[in-house]
Amino acid sequence: MTDKRVSFSGLLLPAALLAPQLAVTAVFFLWPASQAVYQSLLRQDAFGLSVTFVGLDNFVRLFEDSSYLSSVQVTIVFSAATAILSMSAALLFAVAADRVLRGSTAYKTLLIWPYAVAPVLAGVLWWLMFNPSIGIIAYILRGLGISWNHVLDGDQAMILIIVAASWKQVSYNFVFFLAGLQSIPRSLIEAAAIDGAGPVKRFFTVTLPLLSPTSFFLAVVNLVYAFFDTFGIVHATTNGGPGTATTILVYKVFKDGFIGLNLGSSAAQSVILMLFVIALTIIQFRFIERRVHY
């Protein structure tokens, strides 16, 4: 691998180049993050009149709260399913595109479109299609003898947000998988063909292992996406319901903080989420450094 690093001699130019990014990070990330940490250590009474310092009590309470633990469970199911569904669909499309159209753009462009759609719109779109009274998919499912009503059925609500969230992410994954596939030298696949491996075996023993750096990167990106960026989808479709069947952690932060006005608990929840992202990012960087160049 060639080293693409650029080196600067002075200090002023790099500082000037970094300044806007650092400013944005400070205003929109560091400041709110520090506020969240600060808030998570406090407790306000119901009317917001008095504030007391409670230490880690907010965190302790969270882990004793069955609704929080069930939200963790919901989030794990949702995130894992979304990452798996969106990545396998994307890989399928990428393999098809790589085979049929090495280099053609029409198919690629079509698959990239969903990525430009806002999460709320993606949610509304799938919500409409699955709408029990007017949705085309609900209609088809009814034809197949499945009664669809995600307003009442928690599992179905979960499926709805998984499908909507995955659909939006497929295009992003597709681009990376396609790039990964196209960087695998054709002679490797040919060598495997001569070595007696059929298309399926070639895929699992040569192509997929060579895509593992891409897959790992995407797994992290998709998990982070499912944890955070899917707020809009949940908000627009299920509002976390029925009951708490689709209340993922990030939605619970919003619900407890803005609707329940329990700011201390909500802040503690955001801090936990933040730690989770930091952990994922560290893992990602360590693995990218070690594993990507085989």
């Binding site: 060598a191 495997a192 063909a193 070595d195 007696g196 292992p209 593992s212």
Partner: protein, 361 residues
């Protein structure tokens, strides 16, 4: 073990480009056949059709007496060594070599035995646990060969396997490859653009140009009797000098130098006379000096000398301005502009029809 034959084989790529133009070729069982020609002449295309990596547009490819046009690469019992080696980067050297055997459900002890044996043959036993990226270019090359050997296929196919190595290693691997091929006795087809590599390796040399076969023969046959001006200029380094000549009712004029050469049994009006750099002998030009009766003499004006160790290449041109290269032993000290007398024995001359480039005997 198997013979390979191509009958009226053509390849037209989807874009409409005809990369191989109706080729016939028979390769004997156990022999090493080298396809040589300039880049883009269709060597790889031909090899890949034998491997089954490209479809055959027309004609029949036969391996061991069986037509294989409709067979998948895996069903042809061939092994191929690629220029890029195409080693599986995520597998150890051992797994790289074992992969083909595992796919064919060979028993584990047998895989182990064959991999160890091939590794011993290629001197890579110490590297079986390493990944390809931990190997040097030459070692990767050996692993690629090992992967082909363990399969014990009917035919080995090599597509410029040594091109990515440095000059010294290339010579060493070339010798080793020849030795291995002899030892294993497996029919092999080897593609290269390097005429020296081709000459030293080939039992059967196939010279290709622009999708066609120009000549098939042993290395010495091709060298001594090039069938066309293309072969004459491609095989041999430095290449054969080709000088246009005219002919009249009395015979041929050599390079319009005034030297008359023997009459040819050919109706061609315009011919090309070929003479190898090593077949020209130099002497001082003394006006009026009688030339040897049985030699063709002409004057050469030196334009430069390249010493290459044991011998020197003298570059110059004839009175009519045709470029010539002459190989002389030792270190030749001729200044530019020096006029010399050159002699060539008529026996060493080659004649070609200037119209179609074919040899006239």
């Amino acid at each position: 073990m198997a013979e390979v034959s191509l009958a009226q084989v053509r390849k037209i790529y989807p874009g409409g480009f005809e990369a191989v133009k109706t080729v016939d070729l028979a390769i004997e069982d156990g022999s090493l056949c080298v396809l040589v020609g300039p880049s883009g002449c269709g060597k790889s295309t031909l090899l890949r059709m034998i491997a089954g990596l490209e479809t055959v547009t027309e004609g029949t490819v036969t391996i061991g007496g069986l037509p294989v046009n409709d067979r998948e690469p895996a069903e042809r019992d061939i092994a191929m060594v690629f220029q890029s080696y195409a080693l599986y980067p995520h597998m150890s050297v051992y797994d790289n070599m074992a992969y083909g055997l595992r796919n064919r459900r060979t028993a584990k002890p047998e895989i182990e035995r064959r991999v160890r044996e091939a590794a011993g043959l290629l001197d890579i036993e110490a590297m079986l646990a390493r990944k390809p990226r931990q190997l040097s270019g030459g070692q990767r090359q050996r692993v690629a060969m090992g992967r082909a050997i363990v399969r014990e296929p009917k035919v080995f196919l090599f597509d410029e396997p040594l091109s990515n190595l440095d000059a010294k290693l290339r010579v060493q691997m070339r010798i080793e490859l020849k030795r291995l091929q002899r030892k294993l006795g497996t029919t092999s087809i080897y593609v290269t653009h390097d005429q020296l590599e081709a000459m030293t390796l080939a039992d059967q040399l196939v010279v290709m140009n622009a999708g066609r076969i120009e000549q098939i023969g042993t290395a010495m046959e091709v060298y001594e009797k090039p069938a066309t001006t293309f072969v004459a200029s491609f095989i041999g380094s430095p290449p054969m000098n080709l000088i246009p000549a005219a002919s009249d009712e009395n015979g041929q004029y050599f390079g319009e130098t005034g030297s008359r050469i023997l009459r040819l049994r050919s109706s061609a009006e315009r011919i090309v006379v070929g003479v190898r750099p090593e077949d020209i002998h130099l002497g001082e030009a003394h006006p009026g000096e009688a030339t040897e009766p049985d030699s063709v003499a002409f004057t050469v004006e030196v334009s430069g000398v390249e010493p290459i160790g044991a011998e020197s290449l003298v570059h110059g041109h004839t009175g009519q301005g045709h470029d010539l290269t002459i190989r002389v032993p030792g270190y030749a000290e001729f200044g530019a502009g020096r006029k010399l007398m050159a002699h060539a024995s008529p026996k060493t001359l080659h004649f070609f029809d200037a119209g179609n480039g074919r040899r006239i005997d």
